[in-house]
Amino acid sequence: MKHMEKNKLIQIIAIIVIVIGIGSSIYVHATQIDSKHINVNGKDYSIDQLFDNSEEKTYETYSGIALDSLIVKAGVENPEKYEYTIIGADGYQKTVEWENMINGLLTKDGKSIFFDLPKAFRVKDIVEIKVD
């Protein structure tokens, strides 16, 4: 009897897991942001605009524009006083400090690279950089 109850429970949990997975996939697909612009501190820029206004830098195999200079050029005063939340099109977001932004790049394909942070801080298809 106990054995049958355990089996039933495993099957019910499997169904719940599948339902959660499908439901979340539908939600994610519906809320995916499709933008060709990056919003930096409330203003929209195309990736080309950002690259035209800044000098490209290379670090190891990555090249792009410095995130700290991007913030300064976006008109943020006293940037060391703020935190920066980098948000991707899929909703993935990471909050970093100014010291991390100094060590960060924005690549041409819209990805953040931080030399002082683990790979988990690489946000792809960036749609917004929020200054808090």
Binding site: H3, V17, S24, S25, Y27, K94, V96, N100, L117, P118
Partner: protein
């Protein structure tokens, strides 16, 4: 089972897991495929379930996760992989929790439906827990710090990403149990120690020397 045999088993299965994460996982990522879900469904779940079947010992899979995580962490040519290492260790821990109530001879996993269900539940849960724990612990160990709102907004994506792992686990579950008849032949073989130590050494050598 002798402790020595068990440790050799932890070492070889953990090394195979770490090796697959470093080599096959990197290849899948480079090819733009959902490496996390594939690695969890195919390799993490399978290696842990097979080792539980062969060695019939609880706690072994957490040890495997530690070995695989350390191998991933010390992969010297792959950059900083602390996030993957944490996820692998968390997957090992989650497997132990889920399979704690499953009898050591798997008596309850007798039908195709139940084997598949166990594969679905295990793969999904270890994927989700591994992902969540690494999202918490990786920032904690970095200068940026942990911000809970970053995790909360990404929970739907993590739950969605686990679906592929669950589907793969549902297929792998019944497949793995076809190996049940080999359980004793492996551990009792006279070439057990040379084989386990040789395979483990080869995995570490390939990863550390970056021969691929």
């Amino acid at each position: 089972m002798k402790k020595k045999k068990l440790f050799a088993g932890i070492l070889v299965f953990g090394s195979l897991w770490g090796f697959s994460e470093c080599i096959i996982g990197s290849m899948l990522r480079d090819a733009g495929l959902p490496a996390g879900a594939i690695m969890t469904g195919v390799f993490a779940f399978s290696l842990m379930a097979i080792s539980r079947m062969f060695y019939k010992t609880r706690g072994m899979q957490f040890g495997m996760g530690l070995v695989a995580g350390v191998l991933r962490l010390f992969n010297p040519f792959g950059g900083c992989y602390i996030c993957s290492a944490i996820a692998i260790m968390a997957e090992g821990m989650m497997f132990e929790i889920l399979w704690h109530k499953i009898s050591i001879d798997f008596n309850e996993l007798d039908t195709l439906k139940i084997k598949s269900s166990m594969g679905i539940v295990t793969s999904y849960c270890i994927y989700v827990v591994g992902y969540v724990i690494t999202q918490i612990l990786t920032p904690v160990f970095s200068s940026a710090g942990f911000h809970i709102e970053n995790l909360i907004v990404f929970i739907p994506q993590i739950l969605a990403g686990g679906l592929l792992a669950a589907v793969i686990g549902g297929i792998m579950g019944p497949t793995i149990f076809l190996l049940r008849k080999f359980d004793n032949t492996l551990v009792r073989n006279r070439l057990y120690y040379p084989a386990t130590i040789g395979v483990s050494a080869l995995c570490w050598l390939i990863v550390i020397a970056n021969i691929y």
